[in-house]
């Protein structure tokens, strides 16, 4: 989960300031991706995960087992609750096997876990996106004391040991609405990484001729910011947010792994991995299945984000 800051910091350095040329068109991104097999596979997997999340109740109706339903018959009570059969109890009945000790269907829990991962990471991305873009543009456009205040706040948040603070704050907060708390805490520490890039780009854009022209023709600050500057930031925002989503998925899983994420019995990939740790030698599939899903989701989003970035960079360089 520490990957969030590290990853984004690298991106920031790697994203060149726009030197000119037309803003990258969405269509060009799409055509490039559909031509790239790797990127297409990533999109396909992401679509599958999102579909799983959206249609979770329908899918589990089809598979026959709910995410919270116990199946005592699928586990061996005499051996500490190990699933019957090889590969963690994989069978026609339980497609991905069952959880040791209670026999809950792993397939159902993966499907519902996707819900948690996707909801939390998308909400956190949305919130950091709004915060990062608005505050970054404010700082870059107005400069002066506004910039000082926002920049110092960003420095403070980025220098803060975020992970330790997240664990501390989540474990001391009462058990309220966990997913909302997670989104708020993740976003509170996530927005400066986007805001810093936006601030820098806004600064250069604000001195460009078309902005001056807009001003000269009597446009107000708000119009300049939202009509002139924001459209030019689109490429960076798409790249930054696409790359942020896997980071937040990882953070959510990490916090759940550490026991401060969503509370049981809610299914979550991080929590599944956490409880599988003690079973690694007798039931490795319990670890492999949620681990694979988490890995592939994060990988797909990262690769996709990378592709988009290179398309955007090419566009800007052109």
């Amino acid at each position: 989960m520490t990957a969030t800051p590290a990853l984004l910091e690298v991106e920031e350095v790697g994203t060149p300031a726009p030197a000119g040329g037309p803003p990258t068109s969405t269509r060009r991104i799409l055509t490039t991706i559909t031509k790239d097999k790797g990127a297409l596979a990533c999109v396909l997997f992401i679509v599958i995960v999102v579909l799983m999340a959206v249609a979770a109740p329908l899918i589990t109706k089809l598979s026959g087992w709910g995410p919270y339903q116990f199946d005592s018959a699928a586990i061996n009570s005499d051996l500490g609750g190990v699933p019957h059969g090889s590969l963690g109890g994989i069978s026609g009945n339980h497609w991905f096997g069952v959880e040791p000790q209670n026999g809950r269907d792993l397939f159902a829990r993966i499907v519902y876990g996707a819900r948690v991962s996707i909801t939390i990471s998308l909400s956190a991305t949305l919130l950091t996106g709004v915060l990062g873009v608005v505050l970054g543009m404010l700082a870059g456009f107005y400069r002066g004391w506004v910039d000082t205040v926002i920049s110092r706040l960003m420095d403070f948040l980025m220098a803060f040991p975020a992970l330790i603070f997240m664990i501390a704050i989540l474990s001391s907060l009462p058990a309220g609405n966990r997913p909302v708390l997670l989104v708020v805490v993740i976003s509170a520490f996530g927005w400066p990484y986007l805001a810093r890039v936006i601030r820098g780009q806004t600064m250069t854009l604000a001195n460009r001729e078309f902005v001056e022209a807009a001003r000269a023709s009597g446009a107000k600050d708000v119009q300049v910011v939202f009509r002139e500057i924001l459209p030019n930031l689109r490429g960076s925002i798409i790249v930054m947010t696409t790359l942020a989503i896997p980071g937040y998925i990882g953070t959510e899983a990490g916090l759940s792994f550490l026991g401060v994420g969503v509370s049981p019995p809610t299914a979550s990939w991080g929590q599944m991995i956490s409880s599988s740790v003690s079973w690694y030698s007798v039931d490795p599939m319990f670890f492999v299945i949620p681990g694979t899903f988490l890995f592939l989701t994060v990988l797909s989003l990262t690769v996709l984000g990378d592709k988009i970035r290179s398309v955007v960079d090419q566009g800007e360089a052109a």
């Binding site: 919270y68 116990f70 058990a175």
Partner: protein, 564 residues
């Protein structure tokens, strides 16, 4: 006693296969190599542990783990036997020559000390030292352990221990060998009470404040040579202890070495590997995930299992709606699927299903099931019928207090699932483990239900049913009557049994009272958790002791080959 910690193992007569002769267990059925074989003199027994001891001060510590450990360094007037099964829970003389002589109709008890008793300092143990140790129990800061001395022995209401209030006139020491206790009212089983930790002798005038927690003054066969709280504890022989004065402690090894703070999974791996000094090691109950790995004949031979002597139960708060309705509580009794609860803690090797409040290790306990269902999987039809009768067929919401600990969470989820078909929504309220008992023991903070455990302080109903179900014991803080049951019939029966002078008859009556209480359904007995331990290949003389939550009796364990 105390709430069981449930992390640590509990339980007992593993050594069913052992045909033990008193003192050291000898001759197990599996040749001499097993953990039950005879122990040799010498060597150091290693103990791998996750949690450190709560207190080394005998007036303060009070749970299955420290009670067992205290016997290595401390002696009491009487103590529990050192043998598997019922022999282990029999009270035998220790510092005293007998288990006590009652007079004045059981209101006054006299004990005479043996000869050749010494502290580790070389000073003789006198009746004045025993009295000093006992009177420490009244000190508000020190007396947080066993409550029995305070509850049973008469004392002025303002008495606050020897450091603050001075001499306690209700305990007399006419000479250096005789000690006389005056009780509030007759107590037939006082011979068991003086086996409690609070009856450890402390040299007169010493032990104020925290001093005994860091430097105990040993009266038993071992003394502390090195103690790093939370990390290690090393015991060496107390050469002032005279074996001829002690019929209970075999004390074969030359020392013990505890290592605390180890991860439970690490302990299991080390015990399975059994390399180096781990061959001389003992540890607590294995993790559920390890059960499947210790099924090989080699490891099975090193495995010990038995009942923990505690009951894990779910308290139903009878002051909350709709749990104040007997029918609703009975419906929950029927609905809970104890199979899934048992699987949540690790299946049949780690727990037996409970149907009565008292566990099988308690004398006089009757085996019965007032709320039967096929394979204990719950009888939803009966439960539904009862809820309909009570007018709650539409369902309701209950809050279940649970610890933020995987095993407790798993049990809570199992309860949640079991009640779901009745349209009872169970909300799990996770509470930090360190404050859990404080919260559920405060009636103003406790919610509808809570899962906890109880272990008897000595295996008699007297230490099980009255603390949990006497309605007059409900306190604003530190309350152990979780269901807040205050039933006239139960209270009257408790008084009636307390007045019985025959201990066997009293235990039998508690068995009947158990049934009477279950008819009111204030708690759902869930499990009798078991201990399942893996010991090192060089361990001998080991058996699980019924009196110490099923832990390996430390005063009997030793090494098969001390030279290794």
């Amino acid at each position: 006693m105390k709430k069981s910690t449930m992390l640590v193992g509990l339980a007992a007569s593993a050594a069913l296969a052992l045909s033990a002769c008193s003192g050291n267990a000898t001759g197990s059925s599996q040749a001499s190599a097993g953990p039950g074989g005879p122990a040799a003199d010498g060597g150091t027994v290693q103990v791998l542990a996750n949690a450190a001891f709560s207190h080394l001060d005998p007036a303060r510590g009070f749970d299955g783990g420290v009670n067992n450990f205290y016997r290595l360094i401390y002696r009491t007037l009487t103590t529990q036997g050192a043998a598997p099964g019922a022999e282990g829970t029999k009270i035998v003389p220790d510092l005293a020559t007998t288990t006590g002589t009652p007079s004045d109709g059981g209101k006054t008890w006299t004990f005479t000390l043996k000869d050749k008793l010494f502290f580790e300092t070389g000073a003789p143990i006198t009746s004045a030292d025993v009295k000093w140790g006992v009177s420490r129990a009244w000190d508000p800061e020190l007396g947080i352990g066993s409550p029995y001395a305070k509850q049973i022995i008469a004392a002025p209401a303002s008495y606050q221990g020897p450091y603050k209030s001075g001499d306690l006139s209700t305990i007399e020491t006419p000479d250096a060998k005789t000690i006389v206790f005056h009780l509030k009212k007759p107590y037939a089983d006082f011979g068991s009470v003086v086996a409690q930790n609070t009856f450890v002798p402390v040299p007169k005038g010493q032990g104020a404040g925290n001093s005994l927690d860091s430097k105990p003054i040993a009266s038993g066969p071992y003394k502390i040579s090195e103690y790093k709280p939370g990390a290690t504890l090393k015991l060496v022989r107390n050469d002032k202890w005279d074996k001829s004065s002690d019929a209970v402690r075999a004390a074969k090894p030359d020392g013990f070495q505890w290592t605390f703070g180890l991860d439970p999974a690490t302990i299991d791996e080390r015990m399975i590997a059994g390399q180096g000094t781990d061959a001389d090691a003992i540890a607590g109950t294995v993790q559920a995930a390890t059960v499947a790995r210790i099924q090989t004949p080699q490891l099975k031979q090193r495995t010990m299992s038995g009942l923990g002597g505690c009951t894990t139960y779910m308290g139903l708060n009878t002051t909350k709606k709709p749990l104040n309705d007997l029918k609703v509580r009975q419906a929950i009794e029927y609905a809970v699927n104890k199979q899934t609860v048992r699987d949540a803690v690790g299946g049949s090797t780690l727990a037996d299903i409970a149907t009565s409040i008292q566990p099988p290790t308690v004398a006089g306990r009757v085996d019965y099931d007032l709320y039967p269902s096929t394979d204990h999987k719950g009888d939803l039809d009966k439960a539904r019928a009862l809820l309909t009768e009570a007018g709650y067929q539409g369902g309701f919401t209950l809050t279940l207090d649970s610890r933020t600990q995987p095993k407790m969470q798993a049990m809570a989820v199992a309860i949640q699932q079991a009640l779901e078909p009745l349209k009872i929504t169970v909300k799990i309220n996770p509470i930090d483990t360190s404050t859990y008992y404080e919260v559920i023991g405060t009636p103003s903070q406790q919610k509808d239900m809570a899962i906890t455990g109880w272990c008897p302080d000595w295996p008699s109903g007297a230490t099980f049913l009255p603390p949990l179900f006497d309605g007059r014991n409900i306190t604003a803080k530190g309350n152990s009557n979780l269901s807040q049951l205050n039933d006239k019939g139960v209270n009257a029966k408790i008084d009636e049994i307390a007045n019985l002078t025959d201990v066997t008859a009293a235990n039998k009556a508690y068995g009947e009272l158990d049934k009477q209480i279950m008819a009111l359904a204030p708690v759902v007995p869930l499990l009798y958790e078991k201990v399942l331990m893996l010991v090192g290949s060089n361990i001998a003389g080991a058996y699980l002791h019924d009196g110490f939550s099923g832990g390996i009796d430390l005063v009997s364990v030793g090494l098969a080959d001390a030279g290794k």
